[in-house]
């Protein structure tokens, strides 16, 4: 911490300006989320600051109208499969990349960076075409496969620095004492890697719930996740009561926020955007 006492008026004004901008931003953010929340409980809300009355009926009507039971189940299946598969593919690959130097390693890393740098719509459209050709477009398998494209490289890139900081002598010591590859894996690697894997997979989970573009391009009527269903509801607004759509939006917020809160117990918020830069915190 720097001493504040000697600061000049100009730097105080500057600090004041900075905090005003931050405050204004957060105020509007709260207002925005608050509007959705308030509207979802409103009986009638026109031309006043607050609704005329309060009700929870929109949650029941939204649940039926948008078949939220089915949509949530699809979301759960997609997210579960994506988290599991990207963990199974990503963690071993990260282990290999962290522990071995081999010819073509840079090429592999570049290959993994590309899906994170290319806009999702750019590769999503050809990917959707290919998935439809293989008969998995518009169904659950296609949606899961499409969502793997950004998540697998993400898991690898988050896990590489985490594995690199683990002393390889721990594994070597286990081997010296006669442990086989399998028992090193079960008794040494799994316990050490667990916190990192958990953090990476929670981030994948939060990102997959909110992943719009790829799911949107690939999903069919029976394979929409919650965020895509919400998009279609907002897009076709006017057909249904606004409050009903807002109730759905609140349900979406809750599904995301529950996992975000759990994720924040294990990861630093900056890690949600940056790739495990602040690893020393864990």
């Amino acid at each position: 911490m720097r001493a504040v006492g000697g600061e000049k008026l100009s730097s105080r004004l500057w600090a004041f300006a900075v905090w005003t901008v931050v405050g204004f931003f957060i105020l509007n953010l709260i207002g925005l989320i608050g509007s959705v929340l308030t509207s979802s409980f409103a009986t009638r809300w026109l031309a006043t600051w607050f609704p005329a009355g309060w009700t929870t009926k929109w949650y029941f009507s939204a649940w039926d109208e948008f078949q939220l039971g089915d949509v949530l189940w699809v979301t759960f299946e997609v997210v579960g499969a994506v988290v599991l598969i990207s963990g199974l593919l990503g963690v071993p690959a990260a282990y290999a990349l962290a522990r071995r130097e081999f010819v073509g390693k840079k090429f592999v890393v570049l290959l993994l960076l590309l899906p994170l740098l290319v806009p999702s719509v750019t590769y999503g459209i050809p990917l959707a075409t290919v998935l439809y050709q293989f008969g998995v477009g518009g169904n659950l398998v296609g949606v899961i496969l499409a969502n793997l494209v950004p998540t697998v490289p993400f898991v690898v890139l988050v896990m590489i620095p985490f594995i690199e900081q683990i002393d390889p002598r721990i594994e070597a010591a286990a081997r010296v004492f006669g442990a086989g590859t399998f028992s090193i894996f079960v008794h040494v690697l799994v316990p050490i890697l667990m916190p990192g894997v958990l953090a990476a997979l929670l981030l994948v989970l939060v990102r997959t719930i909110a992943m719009f573009e790829l799911t949107f391009l690939v999903a069919g009527p029976g394979s929409q996740t919650l965020v895509v269903a919400l998009y279609y509801a907002v897009f076709a607004a006017g057909v249904r009561a606004v409050q009903s759509i807002d109730a759905m939006a609140v349900i979406y917020m809750l599904t995301t926020l529950v996992w975000l809160i759990i994720a924040l117990k294990f990861v630093n918020p900056t890690q949600i955007v940056a790739r495990a830069k602040n690893n020393q915190n864990h």
Binding site: G31, V121, V152, T256, V273, A274
Partner: protein
Amino acid sequence: MSETPLDTGPNLRQRLRARGFDGVTMLVLPCVFAVIALFVYPFLYGLWLSFQPKTGGHLANYVKFFSDPFLYRTIQTTLILSLPVTILNLLLAVPIAFRVRLMKHQRILTTILVLPITLGTVLVAEGMLFYFGPQGWFSRTMLALGILSQPPSIVHGYWGVFLSLLITGFPFTFLLTLSYVTGIEPALEQAAATLGASPTARFREIFLPLLLPGLAITFCLSFVQAYSVLPSAILVGDPANTTRVISIAAYQAATEEYDYPLASAIAMIMGAVQLVVVVLVLGARSLLYRGPVAAAKG
């Protein structure tokens, strides 16, 4: 571990091991295979498909794109939207990150800012429709405070999409910038302060050169987010006109006209334009500053 030619004799195995290929290295294969099957192959297929138009010669899709103003103007529309938002986000993020770096309870602020990123553009657009609408709290407050004389028309136009990109993009840019700013060794600033450098000089001479590579990367990653805007351009924009971004054109070609070759061509052009911007930014960065930068990373 997996299907390697290990059974052809110890000689080959030893040679492979000398180059770093052993059982552990093979663990990378399933992942590489998945990325090739789900990313590289579709991408190359899309590239090939874009040269196989429904009618006309190999280049017909590209000729069509660059001769139809309804299509080629989408590049301009996208850049007019995404470049200013990205630059504004970065200009806001840097001073705020410098303040927040000195803060004790950073985590509360960063947690609040992570919200719009995790909620995503669809939810932000949905909230904006009411909040910034004529009857929303924003317009009401502006009228009540006398700042505006009539409700602002923000949504369903350029500024609606601009704001939506600001709301979801600023936290992203800020958190990335913060992770770079906090990575700079504080002793460097203290040393400069001890030698009598003013805050402005400290920023210009110490922080800026160290931050530039990080800022260039932040710019690129934020730009990719803003550039591929699809849901908010449709929901809070004017998707037939002022916010008809390139991803809408690609999406419409694929799902409304069922012209996959044209859709692929638009997707490829989209990728190429983004690549040009990224290369320009990274190139400009190396023109501005050359020298060691990694040394100061804590």
